[in-house]
C-alpha cells in the first residue's frame, strides 16, 4: 500500500514535465508566427511606399517632359537643383526614404535619366560623450 504515493508522484512529475514542454513549444510557435506576420506586414508596407514613390517619380517625369517639350530648359524645372551638370530632383517619401532622380539634356528637347537612386535621410550621431578627457 505504500506504492500509491510514489505512483501518483511519478504521474504528477510526468504530466508537469509534459505540460511545461508543450507550453514552451506553444509559446515559441506563437512568437515565431507573430514575428513572421509582422515581418510580412512590414515588407508589404515598404513595398507599397516604394511603388507610391515610383508613381510620384513617374508623374513628375511626365510633367518635366511636358515642360521640356514646351521649351523650358532642364535646369529651370521647378524644385530641382543642378549638380555637376545633372538636374537633380528629390522625391520625398515617408520615414526619410527619398528617391533621387538625375536628368541630363538629350539634345533633342527631352531628357536622359542618369540617376535613379533610393536614398535615406541620415543624421550621424555626433554626441558620443567624452571618451577621454585627457
Amino acid at each position: 500500500m505504500k506504492q500509491n504515493p510514489k505512483q501518483i508522484g511519478l504521474i504528477c512529475v510526468l504530466l508537469v514535465t509534459m505540460t511545461v514542454c508543450l507550453a514552451v513549444l506553444a509559446v515559441l510557435a506563437l512568437t515565431t508566427a507573430d514575428a513572421d506576420k509582422r515581418l510580412a506586414e512590414r515588407s508589404l508596407a515598404v513595398t507599397q511606399r516604394s511603388y507610391t514613390q515610383e508613381q510620384a517619380a513617374q508623374t513628375w517625369l511626365a510633367e518635366a517632359d511636358a515642360r521640356l517639350k514646351n521649351g523650358t530648359a532642364l535646369s529651370d524645372l521647378p524644385d530641382t537643383e543642378t549638380r555637376n551638370g545633372v538636374t537633380v530632383k528629390v522625391i520625398a517619401g515617408q520615414e526619410g526614404e527619398n528617391l533621387v532622380i538625375g536628368l541630363t539634356d538629350d539634345g533633342a528637347g527631352s531628357y536622359r535619366i542618369v540617376l535613379w537612386k533610393p536614398a535615406s535621410d541620415w543624421t550621424p550621431d555626433t554626441d558620443r560623450g567624452t571618451l577621454w578627457a585627457g
Partner: protein, 145 residues
C-alpha cells in the same frame, strides 16, 4: 480502500487538469498556425504584387502586359483589367489560388503617356484583397493602350 480512492481521485484530478492545459495549448498552437498561414499568404501576395508592378513598368501597352504575364494560360483580360492566377508555389496556373488583378490606365501627356496602375492580390474567390499597391510608368513618345 480509502487510499485507493484517494489515488484514483488524485489521478483523475491530474488528468482533468492536464486535459484543461492541453485544451489551452491547442488553442495557442491553432492561433500560431493561423498567424503563420497569414504571414505566408501576405509574403506570397507581396511578391506577386511586386512582380506585377515590374511587369507594368516593362510593358508598353495593356496587350504587352498580358503577354508578359501569360504563361500556361494563367492570364486573361477582364474588361480593362488584366488578371493572372498563381498556385501556392507562385507558379503561373489557370486554376491557381492567388488572383492578381492589374488595372492599366494610360493618360496622354504632351511628351508621351503616363500609365497609372493598381495591383490587387486576392485569395481564391474571396473579394477581400490580401494586398494592393499603386504604381505608374511614363512612356515617352509612344502611345500606350
Amino acid at each position: 480502500m480509502r487510499r485507493h480512492t484517494a489515488f484514483y481521485m488524485s489521478t483523475l484530478f491530474l488528468l482533468l487538469l492536464f486535459m484543461g492545459v492541453l485544451a489551452v495549448l491547442t488553442g495557442v498552437f491553432s492561433q500560431a498556425q493561423k498567424k503563420s498561414a497569414e504571414a505566408k499568404q501576405l509574403t506570397a501576395a507581396t511578391e506577386l504584387a511586386r512582380n506585377a508592378a515590374e511587369a507594368v513598368a516593362d510593358a508598353g501597352s495593356r496587350a504587352d502586359l498580358l503577354t508578359l504575364l501569360q504563361e500556361s494560360g494563367n492570364a486573361a483580360m477582364d474588361g480593362e483589367t488584366v488578371c493572372a492566377s498563381y498556385d501556392e508555389e507562385l507558379r503561373p496556373s489557370a486554376a491557381g489560388i492567388y488572383r492578381v488583378s492589374i488595372t492599366y490606365e494610360p493618360t496622354a501627356r504632351i511628351g508621351g503617356t503616363l500609365v497609372n496602375s493598381t495591383v490587387t492580390v486576392r485569395m481564391g474567390e474571396n473579394p477581400e484583397a490580401i494586398c494592393s499597391l499603386s504604381t505608374a510608368v511614363y512612356i515617352r513618345g509612344e502611345r500606350a493602350g
